[in-house]
Amino acid sequence: MNLTRRQLLILLPAAAAAWEHVMAGTPENAPNYKSAEHWWGMLVDITKCIGCGSCVRACQLENHVPDGYFRTWVERYVVQDWGFERVHVDSPDGGKNGFPDLGGDAKSFFVPKLCNHCADSPCTQVCPVGATFVSPDGVVLVDPKYCLGCRYCVQACPYGCRFINPGTNTVDKCNLCYHRITKDLTTACCEVCPTGARQLADLKDPADPVHEFLKTHSVQVLKPHLATGAKAFYNGLDGSVR
């Protein structure tokens, strides 16, 4: 796009002002964000996911995720008829660069995975020192300055969403882009998802579209028998999904 210098002179301050508005939401800069007013979760719509991997790439860029480790990833399921045991699952490099076409006519779909930010999280239960915890607004966070890297939480997470960051030797995982959602932005993965398969949900906000969605669709959480209080809700989740 071509801007004249005059247009730039008008727009630059406007951009700066817009950016200030974005930054003003930090807990430090302004009391705009009150954690007690929020209870975060995510809505994942399997029927809309196209396995493009944009979310995986965006998360890596936004959060400086090291190669080979994943704060979020996409799995592809190929289900042969009725046998849930005869299911083929793959996630080439976490789905970061999409998936090769496997052809055939078996039922096949993509499942984005991330930290479920469990309300009764088994991972925070086992942390020996309090380096990982559920924030007052429902986000499971890791304090990299306090974590000893004992890896007990990695063992306790049923969803495989935790890993050790080789750069810091502390545990790392999806933190729901806490540095974004506290500034009135959405998570990086939700921002770039082209089909709206991923949507940030504020369960405490009565105006959030998630409430209407939950009323009108059948949703599930992963591994409900473990009673983790998972807050990543999946629409269109097939029984074969692990």
Partner: protein
């Protein structure tokens, strides 16, 4: 049993008591001040995590300067696709639009990431076999990325 004969037990008890006291003193010095503020964790961690820098600006900020593009986009099929979904993280650009210029995108590689035909994708999602569909030409030869539907074609469908 006289005190003389149990005195050594008192000595070891005293040794333990001293050790415990030293532990309590060291503990009060070393536990971070904000620990326990909101729960069993360092309260300051919340702000530290929330203050990390942002890489994706979010589509709302783009609209401040690029309203003309938005006008085209919001009428088309990419209305709900965020700007940075294709253009990459551009928070740096919003902070310094003149010097940080986003790279020009190569539609030959960009579009197929979503639109290359794949049996695992939902059937109602627009997808093509790019080799047959465009015969090697970049997608923007025919499609306008911000509003990709070709109206003439659409009328015949």
């Amino acid at each position: 049993m006289t005190f003389k004969n149990v005195a050594h037990l008192f000595r070891i008890a005293a040794a333990f008591a001293i050790g415990f006291t030293i532990f309590l003193v060291v503990r009060s010095l070393l536990v971070p001040k904000s620990f326990g503020q909101y729960g069993h964790y360092r309260g300051a961690a919340l702000n530290e995590i929330a203050s990390r820098p942002v890489s994706y600006a979010g589509h709302e900020v783009c609209e401040t300067c690029h309203a003309d593009v938005l006008d085209v986009k919001k009428q088309g099929r990419h209305a709900r696709v965020a700007c940075e979904s294709c253009h990459g993280p551009l928070a740096a650009h919003t902070q310094d639009p003149a010097s940080v210029v986003p790279a020009k995108l190569d539609t030959a590689k960009l579009c197929v990431r979503c639109h290359e035909a794949n049996h695992s994708k939902p059937m109602d999602f627009p997808q093509v076999h790019s080799a047959e569909h465009s015969a090697g030409l970049p997608c923007n030869t025919c499609h306008q990325p911000h509003s990709p539907r070709i109206e003439a074609e659409a009328k015949t469908k």
